[in-house]
Subunit: 384 residues, 2 copies
């Protein structure tokens, strides 16, 4: 019943009763029990009229789930109610390489500030996203390539001690996929991919409404798929990986080189006396008509598209959602990805395959983290 | 209960009772009902002693499921009992391009022959595998690239009329994966890939013990993943596809060219006055030490390994099983695949990843087809 409310939103009690094959009186008892637990509430006008007709039932607005989305360079904290509507949010820049003590300390400061502002009187569950391979069962990262000091650091225990409630830890991209599944563009599909292009590249895989983590929790690690036999050296030590060709870090490297060499006067102007350019700068130069910047985006989109074309042949998803900071490059990037996909995938797999930008944008991670925590606390089981 | 018997084999009634939380008397009633339906039977010595102690319970040896595995060049028919043990088998060479009337007619002849021999007194369910994309729901192929005349031909209805029992139709590779899941090397794993190298290349994907067919039924179509930007022209019209580089058809093409040009005296000798060589000939030449033949196998294994490396990063399977006729090239092929996988996949995904040859070999398809039909008839639902 809670699962139906999660997937289909507010519903009349009679409809819920029909779904779970319960009699009118039994469903009344069950709803009363869930209301007393604070899990569901009545909503809509019908309630105020009284009488036999029941109003809508929905997941409670009084619940509070906390989503903590830790990226390589950003920390986002969000609070949702039971329906996963954001009620408060705070963010700041971090450096994941500062290690868990400093980064998690900053997260606690942000949470304390939300609490001091009266925005977090209770916490029913916490979801935490980390930018590396996570052992979901253990609640920590395992051999993350870009996170010195984080290997097996007990992130779940840390938040459980701080907040005294259930805590789930997952890869940040998996949580973004959950966010899109419940509150974004993927509400209507069973199987989809969420591709995050940030400092690196990762992919959340949802099949039959469930996140697929793989046999050792590393599923979706598409940033290290080889695009060509040779190529730029990657953070993983190999050459030719997708994210060594195209990612926030790769764009920063290539744009800075184009600025320094003077090949792009526009990027040179943007660089000024800064040490490096960012993916955002590439976007600015591209939109002002700089051909070198547009070339970087097109080359990157083509390489991403080539990798996705293979994954579409293999996985045959119903939708691909592209998110993360670099996705703000927008439609010139998507156009290249689409062209390559349609060129290289089988017609059966692409005939009705939307490739879209994330609807939730920078909120996808915290909403998904809150959603996963909410599922755990409420006992929501995705239908399959 | 039937699901547990399918996955775990014969068990004492008491263990089954514990699994489904039924009392001793209730489980007795349920077993009696299933025995009367002919779905389960008692097995083991305990039965003959009588008294209170129950013997083992197993899926019935009296059931008969028919598996029909139609490949591009071969037709295999197998009969199993309820436990999926093969009780009879027949095979012959066909050409899928002869079209459905001729090929399905040959299948019926084979089945009639088994019946005449007294091997098929009853049929409880039929599973049919086809070497192309199949709409599982509709029971026919959709836009198959190598099967003229088969597009939307009502294969399920054909066999239902012939045999008057439930019929399921699926892609042949999916059925091979089911065979390995129930009776082969994948019994112990939840997520694995079955890679078939025959005339073309395809992949069966199992996650949480279920075959994943994708949103339009084309999941696992890895033969058309691009290995390089350019390359040999493929049957799909594009260039550089994996199966245009390496498959039964590609080996035949390349070996024949090496024989004709005289670059390989051994292949030249094997060709004699035949029109073309086969993948089997490549194996013969390789085992007799021909460096050109070994080179073909190594190059092919490397290209297959490169594609699988990407899929391992994406899907993180617990096992990869390699089957199909070309898999008989054996360990020189696997060695190249493994080397490329370990070189190009992330350590977390390959640290405990067996890459093995199919245990069921040429029987995988018919056993899987019978298994899928059996699941449908008995109502077995893979646990997730």
């Amino acid at each position: 019943m809670l699962t139906s409310l999660r997937f289909h939103g507010p519903q009349p009690a009679a409809e819920l009763a029909a779904q779970v094959s319960l009699s009118r009186s039994k469903i009344g008892q069950e709803l009363l029990r869930l209301q007393e637990l604070g899990f569901v509430e009545r909503a809509g006008k019908a309630e105020s009229r009284g009488g036999r007709r029941s109003g809508l039932v929905q997941l409670s607005r009084g619940l509070r789930f906390l989503g903590v989305d830790i990226g390589a360079t950003s920390l986002d904290v969000g609070i949702t109610d039971g329906r996963l509507e954001l009620v408060a949010r705070a963010a700041e820049a971090i450096d994941i390489e500062d290690g868990p003590e400093i980064v998690l300390g900053r997260a606690v400061e942000l949470i304390d500030k939300l609490r001091a502002d009266g925005l977090l009187a209770r916490v029913d569950g916490v979801g935490v996203g980390l930018p590396g391979p996570v052992s979901f069962r253990d609640g920590f990262t395992v051999s993350p390539p870009i996170m010195p000091g984080w290997d097996r650091y007990p992130v779940r225990e840390f938040f459980m001690q701080q907040l005294d409630c259930p805590v789930l830890v997952d890869n940040d991209v998996n949580l973004m996929a959950v966010g899109e599944m419940y509150c974004g563009l993927a509400r209507s599909v069973r199987d989809f991919l969420f591709v995050k292009i940030g400092t690196g590249i990762g992919c959340g895989i949802v099949t039959a409404h469930r996140v697929m983590r793989g046999s050792s929790g590393s599923a979706g690690d598409i940033g290290h798929i080889a695009v060509q036999e040779t190529g730029p050296v990657c953070s993983c030590g190999r050459s030719g990986c997708l994210e060594a060709w195209f990612s926030g870090a790769a764009l920063s490297r290539d744009a800075t080189a184009l600025a320094r060499s003077g090949e792009s006067p526009e990027l040179h102007r943007l660089l000024g006396d800064r040490a490096v350019l960012t993916a955002e700068d590439v976007g600015i130069a591209m939109r002002s008509g700089d051909p070198q910047a547009l070339g970087l985006v097109r080359d990157g989109g083509r390489r991403l598209g080539r990798v996705l074309a293979g994954l579409v042949n293999f996985f045959n998803p119903a939708m691909i959602i592209v998110g993360g900071g670099v996705a703000r490059l927008g439609h010139p990037l998507l156009a290249e990805v689409r062209a390559e996909l349609y060129r290289r995938s089988t017609p059966l797999a692409t005939s009705s395959l939307p490739i879209v930008l994330s609807e939730l944008g920078e909120h996808a991670g915290v909403v998904g983290a809150a959603g996963m925590a909410g599922d755990h606390v409420l006992g929501v089981q995705p239908a399959s």
